[in-house]
């Protein structure tokens, strides 16, 4: 997704190393994706479903 759009940055976060982020975003299972630090996507999703949710999560 980051390659497709200059607007997208993608951080892969190793959860066990960053307990502060795990607490902040209430990560109780992986994978869990935070979109713009607000929208949660839990688990692995089909690609287009994931992209649709992530793009829809953009807060203008």
């Amino acid at each position: 997704m980051a390659v497709e759009s200059g607007k997208v940055t993608s951080f892969i976060v190793e959860a066990s190393e960053y307990p502060d982020l795990v607490r902040k975003y209430r990560v109780s299972g992986v994978p869990k994706t935070m979109v713009n630090e607000t929208v949660e996507i839990l688990g692995a999703r089909p690609e287009e479903d994931f992209v649709r949710t992530a793009v829809g999560g953009v807060v203008p």
């Binding site: 892969i12 959860a15 190393e17 935070m34 690609e47 992209v51 999560g57 203008p60």
Partner: protein
């Protein structure tokens, strides 16, 4: 002692044999209070030996904070995976276990400059007008 076994190294070398363009791994580290920085450095060093297209640039987060900030990085160990351009791909934490495979994927994608996504996904992303930040939480096993 290498982290990658000889057979793993062979497999990784084969996976990276067709990288079309150079990839820089911009690695931010620090010497104190970072248990995973040294093993991360070792993994990246072993990786760079397996492909002439991969280079590692090591930076100290504390001494080069402005550079880190320009990559949106404020933690160690962190890696920016940069191809022909910086596509915005970052790894926070040691890329071991399953995350090592994710790093290899990211290197291949950044090198090719091609996401491999479907046309429908690409169309949705092409319409983005505001910044979109993804934080994908994972564990190494």
């Amino acid at each position: 002692m290498p982290i990658l076994s000889p057979s793993d190294a062979d497999r990784v070398r084969a996976m990276l044999a067709d990288l079309p363009n150079p990839v820089r791994l911009v690695f931010f580290t620090q010497t104190l209070n970072c248990e995973t920085c040294e093993p991360t450095k070792q993994i990246l060093g072993e990786l760079a030996e397996l492909s002439s297209q991969i280079t590692v640039q090591e930076h100290n987060l504390l001494l080069e904070g402005d550079l880190a900030a320009s990559f949106g990085i404020d933690r160690v160990p962190s890696i920016a995976v940069v191809g022909a351009q910086d596509y915005g791909i970052r790894f926070l934490g040691i890329p071991s276990g399953y995350e090592f495979m994710s790093l290899l994927d990211a290197i291949q994608v950044a090198s090719a400059g091609d996401s491999g996504l479907t046309e429908a996904s690409r169309a949705m992303l092409a319409g983005l007008e505001s910044p979109l930040s993804l934080q994908v939480f994972v564990t190494p096993t």
